[in-house]
């Protein structure tokens, strides 16, 4: 594959990624900055509940 096609694919990839993030951000409910999670979970005393690939269910 020549460099021009690779370069085009790379631009397309990043454009699609940025468009996806912008689309998702625009359609999602506004983020409540007052409910910001602690900067450091360790020692915060708050239960953390992020999604992880190892999780089967709740």
């Amino acid at each position: 594959m020549n460099m021009n096609v690779t370069s085009l694919l790379r631009w397309a990839f990043w454009t699609l990624l940025v468009l996806f993030l912008a689309w998702d951000f625009s359609r999602s409910p506004p983020i409540d900055l007052r409910q910001e999670p602690p900067l450091i979970a360790a020692g915060s005393g708050q239960v953390v509940s992020g999604g992880h690939c190892s999780a089967a269910g709740e």
Binding site: F13, I40, V48, G51, C53
Partner: protein
């Protein structure tokens, strides 16, 4: 791409996260950047390390991975014991895990990249991996949709070594097991082969440090696959093709919440984005030299990427979520994942040779 405009774009995204999302997510983005730069800069490929061991009896990649696991475990296990807020990467030992890990190990050799490998190579601009990424995401989503049916085939509760034996016991057992793997590898490759390579060693040290920061800040170990599945789920749902409320996995409270909010709030999504950016940063100085593929290789590679995404959900993670995070945080499922994925890799290498990748 020049590094100055790239640095400006990454800095702007960091500021956007601080301003509009949260400081934690912005810091996790920086950690992702570091992970991507380390993976791409050191060419720290889990897939490549296994392939070099099998095909060339070159143990350096696997020894780099063993060092990574040992360092990460030595850092993570005491933290898990000290801070109840932190979670281990606990997946259930199950039929699903056995099948998923085997198929994942097979496909990752064909696709030439595991979860993190696909991400950093896509960030570097390798054409096949850029093509695989959306298919991996779709596969990961479909795997999550079906996961309850796979689990119904048989499972036991996740086993956490830190919980069971305490941090000291879990770490001792983990280091002993890693040393045993190292001895077995050393015996298999025979005398005279160098075990260590500077590139793999510095990659292991930096990755272990960054993954520990991820654990301390996010409260959960480094993961990749969940973010992919979430992205595809959002797309499929927006197209009206999927009703999350009727699905066992996506109707769970946490998953439903993440599906309904910006991906910028999701931990694995934000480190995935950072990882892509970090690899892009490296590629600005050192563009990848990807081998051109023919149409058959493209088709096989893309199909492998899709199946890899699906099987990563069945296996409760990829090389990062299951193997690295599982083993380093004391999850039994990580130790089951490795031999199954390695068995799959042995088949995958034959397929890889058959199609002349």
């Amino acid at each position: 791409m020049k590094r100055l405009p790239l640095a400006a774009a990454l800095a702007a995204f960091f500021v956007l996260l601080v301003w509009s999302v949260s400081v934690r997510q912005a810091v996790l983005f920086l950690i992702g950047l570091g992970l991507g730069a380390a993976l791409a800069g050191a060419r720290f490929g889990f897939t490549t390390g296994w392939r070099q061991l099998v095909e060339q009896r070159d143990p350096r990649g696997v020894f780099g991975q063993l060092l990574l696991l040992a360092l990460a475990a030595a850092l993570a296990m005491p933290l898990l014991g000290a801070f109840p807020e932190l979670h281990a990467a606990l997946g259930p030992p199950s039929i699903s895990l056995l099948l998923g890990a085997f198929v994942f190990g097979l496909c990752m050799q064909i696709a030439d990249g595991c979860g993190s490998g696909t991400l950093y190579k896509a960030g570097l601009g390798v054409p096949l991996n850029m093509g695989i990424l959306p298919l991996f995401a779709l596969g990961s989503f479909l795997g999550s949709v079906h996961i309850d049916k796979w689990l119904a085939l048989g499972q036991i509760k996740p086993v956490g070594l830190v919980e069971a034996w305490g941090p000291g016991g879990a770490l001792g057992a983990t280091l002993l097991a890693l040393a045993a793997v190292g001895v077995a590898v050393r015996l298999w490759v025979g005398p005279g082969k160098p075990l260590w390579d500077r590139r793999w060693v510095w990659g292991a040290v930096v990755l272990a440090g960054l993954a520990t920061l991820n654990l301390v800040i996010a409260g959960q170990p480094w993961g990749v696959v969940y973010g992919f599945g979430l992205w595809a789920a959002k797309g499929v749902q927006a197209l009206g093709l999927f009703d999350a409320a009727g699905n066992a996995f996506w109707s769970q409270a946490g998953n439903a919440q993440r599906l309904g909010q910006s991906v910028l709030l999701d931990v694995t999504s934000i480190t995935n984005i950072g990882l892509l950016g970090g690899a892009l940063w490296v590629s600005a100085r050192k563009p990848p030299d990807a081998k051109p593929l023919n149409a058959t290789q493209w088709a096989i590679g893309l199909a492998a990427g899709f199946v890899m995404g699906y099987s990563s959900r069945l296996a409760f993670g990829c090389n990062v979520g299951a193997m690295f995070s599982g083993i380093s945080t004391g999850s039994l499922h990580g130790w089951i994942w490795v031999p199954m994925a390695f068995a799959g890799t042995l088949i995958g290498l034959r397929v890889r040779r058959r199609f002349a990748f």
